[in-house]
């Protein structure tokens, strides 16, 4: 490394080792991390939960929690060694040259102080006068594309949406004109379209300000869209590094290869193939690891992998891989293409929704969360629900489950029988027929109970089993969801995320349900665990002939599990059709925008549609086609005047749009070409 190079890098991390002091024992978390971010470059750190991404970012600016220690290596910001800096210099550095944005904007904003005051404060600490600070705050809010900056200044954080809050936080972070902006999961809590907007903002700001960016994200699509280069972390080491798109399209380290194969990509569907998984599990913090940290899960591992540290090799230009056997990655064969589930022969209609609406009353206003939904679900079929938050996906699922009652007038039928609105009014049979797998198993499983008591209770209430019969069935469920016997006597928090979700799935399947609602079933899980859970869901569906209603913002997951897709916007069905058709197009303009907004690991389409603005409030719905305020294809004069009906535009494909399907096909083909 030449001295000039060290000086020019916005951030240069050299052999950084960090350990956390846990009850007096130093547990190594970073095991020699090195990378470099050039000025103006965006660098992504990717890896599964607990691999040390955040620790790396915090260590680089010496913001580690009290029990974290840098045990070796250094971090240079603009050539200055942060690890050797005195408190005063460190403070000056943090105040003027670097900024951090955390995952939860709520954490960075004080809920009791007006947004404007907080943003202005960021300038005031830099020495601006009160007047000046206010002006610059307005300017900063404009810079993060907040149109109505003056009015936003007067609001409290809770009066802003998540996306707006995160923009305000970014505005504050940019106050000091940083050379390096560190973003730790900046869009994780946000909706896909809002996420896309924030990412676009970050990209634009980078062009404007020339700041270097360190982006931490578990969503590989986000990293691909935003970053120039990417480092793949595993157990406290960077195992592969290169240009983002190239790494994701042509991974060279066995771990990267495995990780990318776990993802449902490029339109994979369960009827075509099972997902790959990585055998074994992530190493626990504090366990001693072999020389190559991935050795115990690697199919290529040999004796030297245990003992000798893999050195850098460059199988491609601009690529660094730490592996003894880079030349052999081609031997890593994907799982043979076995379908996880056969094509469903359309079975009988199990669930039928006719004109289902749901109106909430809120401070004297009517909030129409769901408007006239007609849907059918057949035996063994999976229906995917997509739409931005506030589109009514969860409201619909809750109405079906009977968590809240739909409005009078609509009908929900199970096997032809009309269901009562609330689960408490339904028969025991109806209740056991419709169950749910929640997003977050930590919340869905009672933490004070053991796995056994959770499952037993479900069996006794839903299947009406007790005694030996219950024990036998418990055993069967345990096998079905692939838990081992000793897990039964543990409590949820003793289990990993994936195991917890298996318990939650077992819980839902206890009473042989006909319909299972899966509300974001894998979004709380790591990629490699997600694959195993998706396979399990596909297996159970095949064996139990259950129908699924899958809600997910991850379009890859929806595409993988679903046979049919329903697209919701402001409580209305905009498009319904076979999964393949809906994804292939011609799309409804909203679906088109949604597909194009969501960042994908496979890269973005050549012409990306930006879905601007936020979903209008359901209290004050736009006239005509409710999507016209944001629709890139809206027809002046027509769309705002009358609402198009939901009509069958081709066999089994329903759409709600004034533009005829052939016209849409032509428009979308021209734009793509």
């Amino acid at each position: 490394m030449s001295a000039t190079e060290a000086r020019t890098a916005a951030l240069k991390v050299e052999d950084l080792e960090v350990a956390y002091d846990v009850r007096g024992v130093l547990r190594p978390v970073l095991r020699g991390v090195s990378f470099e971010i050039r000025p103006g470059e965006a660098y992504g750190l990717v890896g599964e939960s607990g691999c040390g991404k955040s620790t790396t970012a915090y260590a680089a600016v010496r913001y580690l929690p009290g029990n974290g220690h840098i045990t070796a290596g250094r971090a240079l910001i603009g050539g200055d060694d942060v690890t050797a800096m005195g408190a005063e210099d460190l403070r000056a550095l943090r105040a003027s040259r670097i900024s951090m944005v955390y995952q939860d904007p709520g954490q960075s904003l004080n809920p009791t102080i007006k947004v404007g005051k907080q943003v202005a404060e960021a300038f005031a600490v830099l020495g601006a006068s009160k007047e000046e600070a206010r002006e610059r705050a307005i300017e900063a809010l404009r810079r993060v594309r907040i149109a109505d900056a003056e009015r936003v200044m007067e609001r409290y954080p809770y009066q802003l949406s998540g996306g707006m809050q995160q923009r305000a936080v970014i505005a504050m972070a940019l106050a000091c004109d940083p050379q390096l902006l560190i973003l730790d999961e900046p869009t994780t809590g946000l909706d896909a379209t809002v996420e896309a907007e924030v990412l676009d903002l970050v990209a634009n700001l980078r062009d404007e300000t020339g700041a270097a960016i360190l982006l931490i994200a578990h969503n590989l699509g986000v990293v691909r869209r935003t970053c120039d280069r990417v480092g793949i972390m595993y157990a406290g080491r960077i195992v592969e590094e290169g240009i983002a798109g190239e790494v994701f399209d042509d991974p060279q380290h066995p771990y990267t290869v495995g990780l990318l194969r776990c993802l449902p990509r490029r339109g994979a569907a369960k009827s075509e193939r099972r997902l790959d998984t990585i055998p074994g599990s992530l190493p626990l913090i504090g366990t001693p690891l072999p020389a190559c940290v991935f050795e115990d899960r690697c199919a290529l591992a040999s004796a030297e992998c245990r003992t000798a540290l893999p050195t850098a090799s460059h199988p491609r230009p601009d690529r660094t891989v730490f592996c003894h056997h880079v030349d052999r990655v081609a031997e890593l064969v994907a799982a043979p293409v076995t379908a996880a589930a056969g094509e469903v022969a359309p079975g009988e209609v199990v669930l039928q929704l006719e004109d289902v609406s749901k109106t909430f009353r809120q401070g004297g206003h009517e909030v129409r969360a769901l408007v006239g939904v007609d849907l059918e679900l057949r035996a063994g079929e999976t229906l995917g629900l997509v739409g931005e938050s506030g589109s009514g996906k969860t409201t619909l699922a809750k109405a079906i489950l009977g968590i809240h009652a739909a409005d009078q007038g609509g009908v929900i039928r199970l096997d032809g029988e009309t269901l009562a609105g609330l689960t408490t009014q339904r028969s025991a049979d109806a209740r056991r027929a419709i169950q749910i797998i929640f997003q977050n198993p930590d919340s869905a499983l009672n933490r004070s109970k053991t796995v056994r008591s959770i499952l037993s209770r479900a069996l006794s209430k839903l299947a009406g089993l007790s005694g030996q019969a219950a024990d036998d069935r418990l055993e069967k469920i345990r096998e079905e969801v692939v838990l081992s016997p000793r897990h039964l006597d543990l409590k949820p928090r003793q289990l990993s995320g994936g195991l917890k979700q298996r318990v939650a799935i077992g819980n839902a399947f206890a009473g042989d349900p006909r319909i299972v609602v899966c509300d974001e079933p894998t979004s709380a899980l790591d990629v490699s665990v997600q694959a195993a859970i998706l396979n399990l869901l596909a297996d159970l569906q095949r064996d139990e002939q259950a129908s699924y209603i899958v809600i997910s913002h991850d379009l890859g997951v929806v595409r993988y599990l679903s046979d049919r897709i329903a697209v919701l916007y402001l409580g209305r069905l905009m498009e319904v059709g076979d999964a393949a058709t809906v994804f292939a197009g011609p799309h409804h303009p909203y679906t088109e925008a949604l597909l194009s907004a969501v960042p994908s690991v496979d890269g973005d389409p050549p012409a990306r549609i930006r879905l601007e603005g936020e979903v209008p409030s359901a209290i004050d719905v736009p006239s005509g086609c409710v999507f016209h305020t944001r629709c890139p294809r809206a027809i002046q004069g027509t769309c705002e005047a009358s609402e198009p009906p939901l009509v069958e535009v081709e066999a089994g494909h329903m759409m709600r749009c004034h533009i005829p399907i052939d016209e849409l096909r032509r428009l979308q083909a021209t734009d793509a070409g």
Partner: protein, 299 residues
Amino acid sequence: MSAVDPTAFEPPAPLEDAGAAADRRSARREKLRLFVRNPSAIIGGAILIFWIICAIFGDVIAPYSPFATDFDGHVPPGGTNILGTDQLGRDVLSRVIIGSRDVLIAAPICAIIGVGLGTLLGMLMGYYRGWLDDTLGRVIEAFLALPVPLVALLALAALGSSTTTVVLTVGIFFTPIVARTVRAAVLAERENDYVQAAKLRGENGLYIMFREILPNITGPIVVEFTVRIGYAVFTIAFLSFLGVGIQPPTPDWGLMVSEEYALIIGGYWWVTVFPALAIASLVIAVNLVADAMQEVNER
């Protein structure tokens, strides 16, 4: 990586279980360790244990009978009567030691009544919300706005003073305060999906409240219980001081203070100050322990 059986994937190496189980065990041990090391817990606990020993073994420890009027009146501290004697010639030290007994029995009972009823109300309000919560919430607010000593005085005057009525009154006065805490805890807890899941499998409200939610909110309830004991000590003493609490000649601290506080000016401070210190020390001790618990709980 060749074709991987998905079943090979997740039931993890025994290592994970062992690690997790050990972690959990040590998490509990860690809580205990933190508690035992907490300075508040050490000081508070020591004082508390001291008074509990006094209450149990008071007859053995106390140098004299608390009722015997064997000595001269108003002997100053020092000499054979370490803390002096009162007007009637009773040994102050013996009376303070034995005086811990009633309060240490009565205060926890008050807390049990208050926390028991309060938990019940709080659970109902937090779980059912709606009109029940609104109505009870108003009642509680109105109740809390009352001048407590005055109402307690009236209640005790009407019911007649006895240890039982004192305990009941104080317990009932605690109920709304506890109910508010428990309600808040239930409101937060019921947002968890396991509550929804229980409804979807057809559990009734009682089951959900007491079998699903209650085990998860024991932390704040235990803290509340401890805090209430502290308040009970003080309130019981205060009521005795006003003459509507525990009745003479029982050696009660509040009573002792009330009997001779007017004589402080005459220089007979010890008869009043020592029981007052006893009250203060017990209240502080209980609160220190409660603080320590809360601190450990919130980590």
